[in-house]
Symmetry: C2
Subunit: 336 residues, 2 copies
């Protein structure tokens, strides 16, 4: 295990400490917790607040999406482990501006259980909580069982669009409906080329041969659809695009947002080589790209690989996608 | 070599093609070149234009820094190789808004030779060119020979601040003086944990044992100061900070901007763990952090490692650092 860390059991706390020292004007710790961050200006009175959370090891997921135009709070678990319900509640209390709180997170059993418990605890404080669960990974269950799917990089679109919706002073039901609609219209597929190592475990989370890749692997190394010999970028892109396009399905004349996400060790150059092919495939099918996001939006530490996400847009989604949003973890949004 | 690429000899052209498909509203190809990108709105009349360039494999260096508030054009070489003078001139012609052009690039012999040739060719077209060369790598030559040093991640600060200066409609001499002053006040030191592979070469550019790191290694694998057994993040940060602080030297009551840059495969979590220690060391020495930049600002493909940069600030630098700047490759600048 070759990592720039100190004690493997202090990785998460030292990461959070570094983040608070780097962005003291952007984030603060929620009272009564050491694993919950909220917007510096929380609570925003009268605005629906959005709270996320999940295991560490995926920056900018989850904490990188807290900020104006995005989310209000986040609870932070150990590497690849759910945060505790107490930390979720600590964030919830601090971000509630009186209009209720949306819990928006990925479909993993630990997170679901703890967020459910947190919602019950928040209710005792008189805070109304609703829940939206991202499940965009097409490789993890068939289309008919979409709700069983894992949530992966596509949750970024739900964060961005629901965050912008909340900024319009929409009601909790409206923000939840928007998040749910994004989730329904988001499909992602990933490919992994190398494993990563949970610091406290000390050895790689799976083994893959030097000439192999795994299509559809999850961001914690969950099994994918097919382990295969390495293929060219164009071949891999074609397989991923075909699977994603057929899933919703995306059709001619659809307008989409695209996310090509790097899992950690994959250089930006390779993501653009992949996008070069994705763009052409979408064009051949008559699907037009409104906006592309290319970079590291949901990582798995030093894992090599990438994922491809499509979101079907309508006029409201386009407006919300383009709305201003601020986080030191995210590139500029300006489209033109 | 495990990479998401097609033909190793087409990596650069396919990367550029992907970038133009992703950001058609942000960048365009310069006329008469296939390796020079310029701002979509180039030339900006009456503004000093800034042109950079260098080898591929370092995104967001170099092309990611082209945009409003930043640079106007870039020429793009093969992986780790200088671009040709023709491409530099193609960019120069397209960005000159009548106020002259500053060539701002890193201190590598191929780049210097070609930019010098390009400046002579531009002069024949009646375009005034001046040159600033970044040389921030403290490990590559002693302080007395600062101009011999390699340019590495610290060039980001020269881009940002000179770009903002040009936006004030300063003269070419003023923009060059600003860039030179940033360069004089910027010191960087890196550490490498693993090599990277140039696609057309097909094997790693150096070998390093599983339990070793190299302090001061350059971003192309140039030899560093010391190869040593792996140390803890805090130990590595202490060595790097000490070397950088003593170099300028940075002193009590100085205000600085900090860049903790990931070389490619190093997870964001580890960069924040490093920053957690850097921040404390700076505090102990009475040096205060005005703004921190943490992430991948200058990569070496899939190399693992990081670099630490300090820039000594004055009131003008602070204002220029905070000025708006737009690129799809860069996070938000907003400080508060």
């Amino acid at each position: 295990m070759k990592k720039l860390i100190n004690d493997p059991y202090k990785v998460v706390d030292e990461t959070i400490s570094g983040i608070l020292k780097a962005y003291p004007y952007h984030l603060k710790m929620a009272k009564g917790s050491s694993r919950a961050l909220v917007r510096k200006d929380a609570p925003v009175k009268g605005k629906v607040a959005i709270c996320t959370g999940g295991g560490s090891g995926h920056i900018p997921v989850f904490l990188g999406y807290v900020g104006p135009g995005l989310l209000d709070g986040v609870s932070i678990g150990n590497v690849f482990s759910s945060p505790g319900a107490d930390d979720m509640v600590a964030a919830t209390r601090e971000i509630d501006g009186g209009a209720g709180v949306l819990y928006l997170f990925g479909n993993y059993s630990g997170d679901k259980m703890n967020f459910e418990m947190a919602a019950e605890m928040a209710a005792l404080d008189g805070i109304t909580v609703k829940t939206s669960i991202a499940s965009d990974d097409v490789a993890s269950a068939p289309p008919a069982e979409k709700k069983r799917r894992r949530g992966i990089a596509g949750i970024f679109f739900a964060y961005k669009i629901a965050g912008a919706k909340a900024d319009t002073k929409a009601t909790l039901d409206e923000v939840k409906a928007t998040a749910d609609k994004v989730i329904e219209n988001t499909c992602t597929m990933g490919v992994a080329l190398s494993p990563c190592t949970i610091p406290a475990v000390g050895k790689p989370n799976f083994i893959i041969a030097d000439d192999e890749m795994e299509l559809g692997m999850g961001i914690h190394g969950e099994p994918g659809i097919e382990r295969t010999k390495m293929k060219s970028a164009d071949e891999v892109a074609a397989i991923m695009a075909d699977k994603v396009i057929k899933d919703l399905p995306f059709k001619a004349k659809d307008e989409v947002a695209v996310l090509v996400n790097g899992l950690g060790a994959t250089p930006p150059e390779e993501l653009f080589i992949m996008y070069n092919k994705f763009y052409d495939i979408l064009g051949e099918r008559g699907i037009s790209v409104y906006k592309a996001f290319i970079g590291e939006y949901a990582t798995s530490m030093e894992m090599a690989g990438a994922s491809f996400t499509l979101l079907k847009l309508d006029s409201e989604f386009k407006k919300l996608l383009d709305a201003p949003a601020f986080s030191p973890f995210l590139p500029q949004w300006r489209r033109a």
